[in-house]
Amino acid sequence: MSVSLQAEAIDVATEYARLVGDAPGAAVATFTGYVRDHTDQQAVTELALEHYPEMAQKVLDELGHSAAERFQLSQWRIVHRYGALGVSETIVWVGAVADHRGEAISACEFMMDSLKTDAPFWKREQRLTGEQWVASRDSDTARRARWQSVEVE
């Protein structure tokens, strides 16, 4: 039931063990995002992640609580990095514990889709051709919108 904003690499094994604890639910789903080595066929050598600390903390807290309520989670955790990241390093980790597999898996997807468009982070890629801010993707906005249509039901 917590958020971590951190400069350090994400220790997936430790995060998993803490999430599950001594009394796991029946179903645990996790997602880890890594820095790609390419964007649109261009090689990427490093990523700088700028963030708005106070707002990021608030948005991710609210997102976790919203996921917990919506998918009946007994535990959840969101870890997001900021700062300079090398290729193949972790960027983000989310985990959800529920009674049923569908809820745990959907909660991870909901948290990832929402944080992509709602959490104040900005990626700047170091490419062979120079530095460049990463543009937001229409596909991310569309994935986020799927959850909103469900919210209205």
Binding site: K58, H80, M112, K116, A119, W122, R124, S136
Partner: protein, 89 residues
């Protein structure tokens, strides 16, 4: 009356500032009715770079860490941030 302005990512870079206090004393209309649009108009008077950067159609405004429309009212001590669409995760 003053508020805190924050800029992030490409807006911070384009405008060369990341955070400053904006004094609103003596502004019209009465400062108790100032909204985000009025603040944008005020900042746009700083020059073409400001006007262009703040009036891009996809600029996001967050008031006290929450995304808002331009009709949100601004009060003493508020924190108002401008930034491009978010690209985390």
């Amino acid at each position: 009356m003053s508020i805190t302005i924050k800029l992030f990512s490409a807006l911070r870079e384009a405008l060369g500032e990341s955070e400053f206090e904006l004094d609103l004393v003596g502004m019209e209309p009465a400062s108790s009715e100032l909204d985000v649009a009025a603040i944008k108009a005020m900042l746009s008077k700083r020059g073409a770079a400001w006007r262009d950067a703040l009036n891009q159609p996809n600029v996001v405004h967050a008031l006290n860490h929450k995304v808002v429309f331009t009709d949100a009212l601004v009060s003493e001590g508020d924190e108002l941030a401008f930034f491009p669409p978010m690209t985390g995760g």
